[in-house]
Each structure stands twice: as C-alpha cells, then as structure tokens.
Symmetry: D2
Subunit: 416 residues, 4 copies
Amino acid sequence: MMDSLAATERLSRVFADESVVQAMLDFEAALARVEARAGLIPESAAEAITRSATAEAFDAAELTRLSLRAGTPAIPLVRMLTERVRDLDAQAAGFVHWGATSQDVVDTALVLLLQQCRPVLESDHKRVVLALWRLSEEHADTVMLGRTLLQPAPPVTFGLKAAGWLAAVKRGWVRVASRFDQSLYLQFGGASGTLAALADHGVAVSQALATELGVPCPDAPWHGHRDRLAALMAALSIYIGSLGKMALDLALLQQFEIGEIAEPGGDGRGGSSTMPNKRNPTGCMLAVAAAKRTPGLLANFIAGMLQEHERGSGGWQAEWASVEGIIQAAGVSLESMAEVLEGVRVNSVRMRQNIEATRGAVFAEKAMIMLAPEIGRDAAHQAVAEALPDIPGLEVPEDYLGSAEAFRRRLLGSEE
Amino acid sequence: MMDSLAATERLSRVFADESVVQAMLDFEAALARVEARAGLIPESAAEAITRSATAEAFDAAELTRLSLRAGTPAIPLVRMLTERVRDLDAQAAGFVHWGATSQDVVDTALVLLLQQCRPVLESDHKRVVLALWRLSEEHADTVMLGRTLLQPAPPVTFGLKAAGWLAAVKRGWVRVASRFDQSLYLQFGGASGTLAALADHGVAVSQALATELGVPCPDAPWHGHRDRLAALMAALSIYIGSLGKMALDLALLQQFEIGEIAEPGGDGRGGSSTMPNKRNPTGCMLAVAAAKRTPGLLANFIAGMLQEHERGSGGWQAEWASVEGIIQAAGVSLESMAEVLEGVRVNSVRMRQNIEATRGAVFAEKAMIMLAPEIGRDAAHQAVAEALPDIPGLEVPEDYLGSAEAFRRRLLGSEE
Amino acid sequence: MMDSLAATERLSRVFADESVVQAMLDFEAALARVEARAGLIPESAAEAITRSATAEAFDAAELTRLSLRAGTPAIPLVRMLTERVRDLDAQAAGFVHWGATSQDVVDTALVLLLQQCRPVLESDHKRVVLALWRLSEEHADTVMLGRTLLQPAPPVTFGLKAAGWLAAVKRGWVRVASRFDQSLYLQFGGASGTLAALADHGVAVSQALATELGVPCPDAPWHGHRDRLAALMAALSIYIGSLGKMALDLALLQQFEIGEIAEPGGDGRGGSSTMPNKRNPTGCMLAVAAAKRTPGLLANFIAGMLQEHERGSGGWQAEWASVEGIIQAAGVSLESMAEVLEGVRVNSVRMRQNIEATRGAVFAEKAMIMLAPEIGRDAAHQAVAEALPDIPGLEVPEDYLGSAEAFRRRLLGSEE
Amino acid sequence: MMDSLAATERLSRVFADESVVQAMLDFEAALARVEARAGLIPESAAEAITRSATAEAFDAAELTRLSLRAGTPAIPLVRMLTERVRDLDAQAAGFVHWGATSQDVVDTALVLLLQQCRPVLESDHKRVVLALWRLSEEHADTVMLGRTLLQPAPPVTFGLKAAGWLAAVKRGWVRVASRFDQSLYLQFGGASGTLAALADHGVAVSQALATELGVPCPDAPWHGHRDRLAALMAALSIYIGSLGKMALDLALLQQFEIGEIAEPGGDGRGGSSTMPNKRNPTGCMLAVAAAKRTPGLLANFIAGMLQEHERGSGGWQAEWASVEGIIQAAGVSLESMAEVLEGVRVNSVRMRQNIEATRGAVFAEKAMIMLAPEIGRDAAHQAVAEALPDIPGLEVPEDYLGSAEAFRRRLLGSEE
C-alpha cells in the first residue's frame, strides 16, 4: 500500500521477492554450468546446482531477515542453496558459488532484473510517442496561447506544443536506450576483482558466463566503479523529468478556468471522494509525482559513487532502493501518460476563446515589431504598452505564428 | 528482498499493507463515532462502520491496484468499506466518510503510523545512548591518536571520542522527539479544508476526532502546508547523519592496519562469502548505507513542499516513499549501531602502538608551542617540521591531552 | 552576474571578501586578547595582532588563490597576518593563532557571518508576517474558489488562504530562530579538539573567547559534528519551502485566465523584453526559483555530515557553498515576497465570477451531503454527478463556508 | 573567499561578470548582423549594435542589481545596450534585440560560456588520463592488498587499481564530451518560441545566427525543454563522482597507518596550520569535496525540469547556480587530481609489508578453493577460518593474482 502510487504491476513483478531470488539463483546456476564446461568443477555439481536453483523453494521472508544480518542477500542465499544442493549430491555442495563473491551475485542479479524492465518501459514509451505524433499532426493548425511565466504570450499551435514534448521524450529515450545498452554488464570478479580463485581461467569463464546469461562481458569487474549504472539512472531521471514537464503542462491546461484539454476518465481514474462531478488530472498528477520522487534518488546514487577500494562499505549497499525507485517512477510516469495522451480531448474552441479574451495583448510583440522601424523599438515598446488595453479581441492572423509549423515539422522529423 | 538492507522487521510491520489499511479504517471508524455523538449521523451507522473497519477483511492487492487508478488509496478504500457496511446496514452505508476528503484519511493514517514508529526508534536510541555512555566512562583514560584529514593528530581519548558521538546523538534525538511532538496532527478538513459539509460543527468534530484517535488537533487543516512533516523528516535525516558519522569513524578505526576497534560478530553478522576469516564492519556499513539513502529523500520531500492551493497535484502524492524511506533508514541505522556499540571491543594496546608509530610527530603542535615563545611561532613551526622525523617513539605525557577530559565530562553532562 | 537572481545586496555584503576576511581576523584578534589576559601570550602581542587584523590590508584575490592551494583559507590568512604583525612587533609574530587550528578560524568566522545574516532575514520576515496579517483580516469575507489538484473545489475565503500561508511562515521562522539560537557556537579546539597547546587553560580561554566574540560557548569543540549547522540549514530550507508554496499559489492565481490577484509592478519589476504590456509574476517567480535551488543544497550538507574522526577530509570543506546558497535563497525569497505581499491587488469580483463560472459544480459536496441521509452517500454521489452539469451559476450561501472563518482566526492566533 | 575551495581561476574567468556580459552582448551583436544580412534591419543598425556590444562599457554591479529587479539579466542589458546604441545612431536603437526574447540571450550566453569551459576541463582530463596510464604501466607488477568493506582482501596490483580508475575516468569523459556535443545549441525563439516577429524568416535567421556564433542550430527553440542541459550536467556529475572515488581511495591509502601512497606537496599544498610536519591529502580532499557538492546541484537541476509551457516561472531561473557549481566542481576536481597523479609517490615496500602483516589471511579464498574439491566448499570455508590466524606471513605466489594483469590490459585498451 505504501508504494501504491509509486509502482506499476508489471514492474513490481520484476522486483517481487521470487523474481529477485531467481535472478540471483540464475547467476549461481549459470556459473556452475560454465565452470563445469571449463573443467573447473564436476559436471554433476553443475547439474545439481542448476536443479536446486529454483526460487520457489526458498523462503524469501527468512532470506530477507538473514540478509540484513549478513549485510548482503548473497551470503544467506549461498548457504541455503548449498544446503539444497547437498540434499541432491553431497559432493556438489562443495562447488556452489565457486570463485564468486557476494557482489558478483547481487550486481549480476540487478543487471538481469533491469534487463527485464527495459521492454516494459519501451512498450509504453512507444505508446507515448505514437500518441504525441498523432496529436501533433492532428493539431498542426490548432492555434492556442503561448504562455510564458504563466502569462499569455503570442500564439503557438497545439501541434507545435505536442511536437516539443515528443522531441524531448524521443531524445530522452535515445539516452535511456543507449544507457541500457552500455550499463548492464556481467559482474564477476571474485573476492578482489581478480578472479584469483580461477587462476588463469578468469577471462574465459567470464566471457562464457556472460554469454550464458545473455549479458555483455565488461573489460574487467566493476565492483567499485558505478559510473555505468549511474549513467542509466541519470538518463532515466531526465526522461522522467521530460515526462513530468509534459504532465505539468497538461495539468495546467486542464485547470477549469483554462479548460483547453481534458484527460480521459477511464476505469476508476480521476474521481474525487467528496466531489461527485470533479475530474482530477490524475494521470498527469501521477507523472508529476514520479518526477518529484526521482531527483533525490539520483542524487543519492551519485553521492554513493564514492565507494572505497575494491568494494565499498555503505555506498554500494545503498543503491538498490534508488535503482528500484527510479525505474518504478519511470514505469508509473510512462503508463500514466500513455493513457492520458491516447485519450486526451483537445478543446480548440476554448483555445481560441482564451486568445480572444486577451483582447490583443498577445499580439503586442508583433505590433511593436511593426511600429519599431518607424519610431524605434523602445518607443514602440512604450506605445504598445499604453495602447493595448483598449484593443478588442482579434482573430490570429495566419502569419502571426511565425515559424511554428516549420519548427513543428523539424521536431517531428528529428533523428537526434 | 529489494529492501532487505533498508528496512527493519519491526518497522516493516508498521508499514505492512494490513497495518496501513487499518490506520485508514481507524480514521473512518473514529470519524463515524464522533459524528454520531455529535448527532450528525445515526448511532447505528457508526456502529456498522466501526464493525466493518477491520483490515483483514480487505483485499490489499486489489486496493493497491485500484489506488494507482484513483491516484489515492482513499477512494477505493471508502468504496470497499461502504460495500461492507451496506451488507450490515444498508442505511449506514450512506454515512461512510461523512464530510471527509481523501487526504484526511491518508494524512491521518500516516500520522497514526508514524506515532507507532516512535517507540520503536526510541528504544534503540536509548540503547545507543547507554552504550556510548559506558564506553565513554570506561575509556576516559584510553589514549588514542586524534585524526584530522585522515592523518594523525595530537592524541585524544576514546572516552572523549565516544562522548562526542553521544552528545551528537542526544542532540539529534532531542530534535527528533520535539518534531514528533509538533508534527503529527490530525488531518480533517473536507473537500477544501473548511469542513463545509459539517456546517458549524467543524471545529468541535475535529477536536473530538483528534481525542478519539489520540492525536493533537491543529489550528486548521494542513492539506497544502507540509512544513511540520518536513521538519520531522529533517530532524530524522540529521539524526541519521550523526549516526552515520559515528559508523564511519568506527569502520575506519576497524581497518586492519589501524585495528583499534572490532565490532561484534553476532549471529550471521560480518562474514564474507569468499573469505572465511574476514570480519566485515557490517553493522557500521548498514548505518553508513542508511545515511547515504537519506539526503536525497529529504530533498525530494522539501522540493515537494510547493503544493498548489488547497491540495497539491503531485507534490503531496510523492511524499509517502520519502517518509517511509527516511523512517526505515533511521530504524536500520539505530538497530545496527545499538548492536555494534553494545559489543564493540576496544584495543587500547593497539591505540598506544599507533601513537608510538608516529615517532612523536603528533606532538609537533605541543613542541612548537613550547619553542615558540623563544623563537616565534613561525620559526618554531619550521624548526619542528625539520626536527621531527628523527624523534623516536614517545610516551604521551599526561598534560598533552589538554582539555580532553574536561570536554568529555561537559559533553556527557550536556542537557542541550 | 551568474548569481544575480540568487543573491540580495544586503546578504552579499555579509559574504563579500572583505567581510569574510574580517570575520576570520576578528577571531584571531579576539583570541590574542583573551590569551593575553590569561597570561598565555604577552599583552604587546595581543595589541599588535589586534592592530594588524584589519581586512582592508589583505589582498583577497591572492588569499583566494592561496586558499585553494592550501585547502583552507586559514593557512594563508595566518601567514599573511603573521607578516603584518612582524612589521609592527617581531616578537608578537610568534603568538599569532596561538593554540588554534584552521577549522577554529573558519568555523567561527562562518558563525559570525551567519549571525550578521539573521537580522537581515528577520526584518523581511516581519514585513511578510504583517502584510499577510493585513491581507487575512481585510479579506476575511472575500469568498473564492478552493482549488484541489488544480481543479475547483468548494469555496474558501482569501482571508483563510492568507492565514494558512501566515501560520506556515510563522512556524517556519520559529524553527529558524530557534536554530539560530542553538546552532551558532564558538569553534575553538586546536589541532585535535583538545586544546592541548593550552594545557589546562582550554576551557577558561574558550569561555573568554566566546564572550569576547559575542557567541555562545559549546560544551566542547564540534569540528567533526555538524548536526547543529545542519539543523539551521534544514530549518531555513523548510521556511523557503513554505514561502515557495505561497509564491506558487500567488503565481497560479495571477494566471491571466484566473486573474484573482496581481503582484505589484514596482521599479523595474515584472516586465518583458518582448511584450510591452505583459506583467510577469516576477516576485513570485524569484521565490519559487529560490525554493528550487535549496533542497539539493540541503541534501549536500546532510550527506556531508559523515566527516571522518576529529576533522573530515572533504565533507567539511564542501559546506560553505551550501550554507551561502541556502541563506541567500532565504534572503531573495523573503525580500521578493515582502514586496509582493505589501502591494498585491486582490480582485474579489473576479474571484466571485470564477465561482459562478463553475455553475454550481463546487457545491456538489454540499448537495451530496444534503441528499445523502435520504438515499445514501454513494447514491447521492452518483445523483449529483449526473445532475450538476445543468445547474446554473449560484451565489455562495453563507454557511457553505463551513469552518473557514473559525480556522482563519485560529491560524492568526496560533502561537505554535 | 566563500568559493575559494570550489572554483578554479581559469573557470572563474569564464564566469566573471565581464565575460558573462560579453557573451550576452555577443548574442545581440550577432543577431543584429545576421538580421541585417537578411534585410530585416538596416546594416547601419547592425554596425552600431556591434560597436556598442563591448562588455567593459557596462556597469556590471548596476546590471546585477537591475537583473534581480527584472527577474532576468536580459531586460536591463537590452535597455543599457539600447542607450549606448542610441548615442551612436538614434535610428539603430530601434533594432536592438530584434525578434528575440530574454531567454534567447540568457540561454545562448550560457551555451557560449559552457563552450569556453570545455577545453579547460579537457586539458586537465588529458593530464589525468596520461598520469594514470603511466602509473598503471609502471605498477603492473606492484602487488598490494585488495580491500573490500575496508578490510584486507586477496591481493591486486596497483597497476590494476590505476587501470580501473583510468577506465572509469575515460568512460566519464566520453559521456561528458558527447553531451557537450549534443547539449549546447543556439537558443532563439522570440516571445513564444515561434519567432513570430520574423514572419517566415525564422528558420533561416536561426541557422545564420547559429553559424555566426559557432554553435549548432536545434530543430526548434528549447525554452521549456531542458533535457539536453540536464544530460550534460548529469554526465559531469558522474565524471566528478568517478574522480571522487579515486580521490577517496588515494586519501585512504595515504592514511599514516597504511602509508602506501603519498600525494605530492607542491607550492602551498598539504600543510597544517598547527602541525608543522603533517602532510594532508589536500588534493584528494578537494576532489572529494567537489564530489560532495555535486549530487544535490544535479538534483536541483533535474527537479527544475518541470518548467511550465513555453517558458517556466522558477525552474529555469534556478538553473544558473547549479550549472556553475557543477562545472566548477569538475574543474577543481580535475585540476587537483591531475596534480596529485602527476606527483604521487607509490610505496611498494609498504604495500608488501601490509600484505605480510595479514599473516596469510588474504589467501584464505585461495586456500579454501584448493581444499574444497577434497572436502567441499563449505567445510573448507570452516577449516580455513580456523586455521588461518596461525599462518605466518607469506609471499604472494604469482598465480594468486588471477586475472589481474589480463583485466588491467583490457581496461587500458578499452575503447568503450
């Protein structure tokens, strides 16, 4: 319940106890198999370990309790796994976790879990992109007020506005995707990151293990170097920030007094416990809330990069909460905004009324620019300031939109 | 599992789904009872609501799912509660949540949960204080190196060092306790914070409700004003910071090459999955990790204070994760450090050896001060710098400790 | 220029080079005087040091350059001061900085500078309080929409809204003032915090020095314990957050489409470089910007509390930027909001029009409450949701304001 | 003075008042020239504007004061520039700032300043890379303790350790450089980002202006979309984090009791005001402090991304302090670590002594692995734990280093 607004069902399945335990067990089983193939441990041990490495057989509550005692989930997990293997094959028990260290298990498990999150996020990202594209195309000519410092400014189009959101979201995902590609490496280094226990088999076993697990193999273990994960967290945080900016814009446009858009109501969404007819901008609110939970988590992660020597004492162990929080924020934000954008109603009549209500004030820049060649820009600035309050509502002349459409098309076509 | 290093069993019970749901139901039931007493709703309705308000009858998973849809747990909870009440008494169903708004339920529930956390934290705080007091008294004369910028400095006593930690922890708890006293108020304001639905009964019902729930009644609802909670979060964060400083000091003293203290091993603690004889400073590490998870959560909370008008759209809804994270960090840090301090072994022989190994260098300040009246402070600075590398190991003359013992006693006696 | 929106003239004078240097020199001169009185150094030395300790004689640019080399401003400052003293009295040069360490100078200087900031902040705080009080009293009966999740909610009064801001600001200052009282202590501990160089004169000299400088004397030096400063920074950050919430509310009310308030224009304020007649909410914007610069600075300060042993290596040296940034944010926010609140125009006609434009929707809660006893709360919720879109604009019946006025008066009278 | 530990001379020149003003004037002058070429304003106006756009003629203190009033430096700057132009050519004064908005000036100026910072950072980055490369090659065979959770672990080489730092720093710079390439675009959009004042010349003038200023031209103005700058800030923060990790490792290795490295003393560096012979790890401390000032600034920037509509009210205006703080932190960290790494002394004798002092404990993993095939891994774990305390000091057998050298070479060769 405490996380109910901060987690999606799909991502919560990835981070559920059984899933996390299975990811750690997958590491142990794959390690045993590749070591058996390399002749470092008996084939029979690898078989027994692989057969024992099924999460449903582990007591997650007990494991959680012991993890806090040990300061890492890996120590009790390896002990429990060893007991299970011993039941199958007493000799095999001696080969569990061969040459690995706690952090190898924990970091690689995290990498495997993050890999599972990627398609979940990507599918909603694609919905957001498609919905924004359609909105931008459909509203290429829908004129509305620009707004700066929360005050009316010369008109823009809703198509341009949507294109701006779209381009930011696309740039954001390009960064996220590139960080997913470049951040999620196998962790395998043994006690000090030298794989000393494997003598000169270290590099070969690493590569085989990476292949077995379907993750890339890094140049070397990265126990104390967290920059790659930090870069993924930063990319996600910035992406969440761009979604949050869009959500804030939409929530502001949805204010009753502005009324230019309405987010869709859908199943259980947007109601009020006291006001029967109120429509809250719930989807946008969830995305804004996600953006407000993220920056401090990122700060914690980056501050935590100062990890001592070959394995840190505190910085590393603080990471999981930040990683899960940021990924879940991305998930909630994306899921909410995909739904909002696919169903948002745009009130173009109200948009035009809101322009007219300014009684020409937002054309002041244009008027000044037209007057300026005659009397100078600053005199024009003064003259327009005095004259404008009396100008009645105006239609928006077509060419007052400047490069709005040109910019819109460039943004849609951007491959940056 | 994801939270295994970041949560204690006792606090996790407070934040478990059933406990959270019960806190919300306690609000609804108490509200019904005081409203019945005030003649606003029928007595029979209050009875039916109270009887229905038992968390174990609610499907927490479904509630979690619906909360994300609604953007608040209160809407589906009220709906489910209403259904349960209707089964008992159809007419009573019409009086559930009478005059309240979602945020009244959610905020008051949070307040009730935080109240439950206080004694959990306080009991470990007392253990920490007592253990530090004993260490300080026992080691009033245990001389050890001072260390500044991680380099040896003139000697201090371990008793003074422990007294410094103690005084910081005591100051920290004074702030935390005062914020617990001044932050946890009833939330009850109805849709806009005016209790409009209760006509002129608002203030009286508020006070009765506060009494019923055992929480103080504020001057007015505080839906959009989060400064009190922020002050509690800040006090906890600073307290966690002081515990973290102590933990870092202890972990550094425990480095093999320094070896001046050893934290206790205890059940499952401090081992390594690869190095059989390694003793990790696990308790200290957990407290350092807690201190590294906290600052960003506090930043998120304070950045989230900019909540719009009578109820914010995003800032408020982002709070829970920060609140739970900070409280749990305090819990893990306290529980870990209480255990460390109650069992820590102090190696006073090693402390003296480490002083002797500096071969007098740490007496340089004293030597300079003694020389200076003759030849000037800066000439003495120069002379000592040149002479010292050749001075052999020295005993620490008693009066070289300056005011260490005076300061120690003042710190122990501090009532600040 | 880079700080032009983030600093006030009055506070910038406190943090100007000459002022900072003078604060450090004040420490050195006061130290010499009390040590002379205690017979630890010659009277003549104290005189020469006091006469030399005038900031305008120091080259601040050179000092800045050397500070980065030394990792602390104190080392080059003491060297320069010693040279100046030597010119007056060669023997006296040997008694500069007697028994003190770099951090004693730097921390005490910071404390002296923060003391100077307090009245600057307090004078603007008083303006804010007075202006809010007047607004609340004047608009006790000015009815306006409540707004929750940025949507219309049952009416409140502007007087209640102002009282809510006022109470938060008052609570905020109570915390700030109490932290100013309890955070700003003399720092004087010598190399390791034991005042070893002063033999058994340490406590007495500390107390005399504190008196000489007009700051309280702590139980013991606090080189590695930063919790008191952290508590002051946190109190300021929360105060800035409450000002930011008020500023955001005012900026939102000032949106053209809502138009319920207008911040005053005043000398050079609120203009646009392109739109002659635009009135930007510049004062509110500055306070919102201040609130957005603060949370991360506080997080940095608290994360930096993990300072090693008797003097940290990095955490301490990172503090100044955070302290200055937070104090300046408070200064800008207060100065801006004082001006806004003293001149804000409240458009009560527009407030009423905005209620009427909802065509009764915001009375839905009340209507539901009136229907509910007959047909049940949830059936009423449904009925009202269907009926409301067709209800024409309504006047606000007086008793629909619930406890608004009672809450307002309690908030004004709050002594919490 | 307040920034003395947080700013380098070279970067401070970039952010000095005159430099900042000149960057803004460069925008105005370039704009006038390209508009003249496009026939939008008279050639004579462009000439007069260009001749007037020299920063030394502007009163920076007055500009700073007026900027706070206006809420932006651009408004008073344009006014002052207009006055200067008028003195040369009255008609030209009417064409200053033609079609631009405040944010165009301010953002483009920031972009120009950041471009100037890049080579400053890059030159120190190259020194760091070269120094680390040499250390790694020179110490490929220098065996030392691995250290995990601050306790001894199986041996590594200093060459591997240096290679790990090097690879992280190189990865960090690849990200920083790619963000410099992709973040620093022209800002030019006029009042609402449509360049309405330029009719259909907007895109062409934008491209010409970008060329004139030597910055890339974006698809469209990005007034409200701050993701690119955020990505640069994040890349810098992560880079600073990797430098900070290295600095912390070096400071820890430099502890007197470990004594494996010593940072160079150099001009004014590393002294103590009280202890004549103390060598502080000043360079490392400055880099650690930089890493502690950064995460919160990044959090502020990312939280500030939620900027309303076409130009935000608060989020944007809060950015400058974060940007300058992060860039300066990078500058201080790089400058300090370049000096440290170029002069660091490595004490390989002490490294070996520290291994021997563990009396074989760090070979426990290896011993266990050797025993395990006979008696099982967990029995071996137990046996080694009991036996090890009695094993005398051992030489490090060559093959106990596992893949240390293979990993080192891969890290040096990494092109990631």
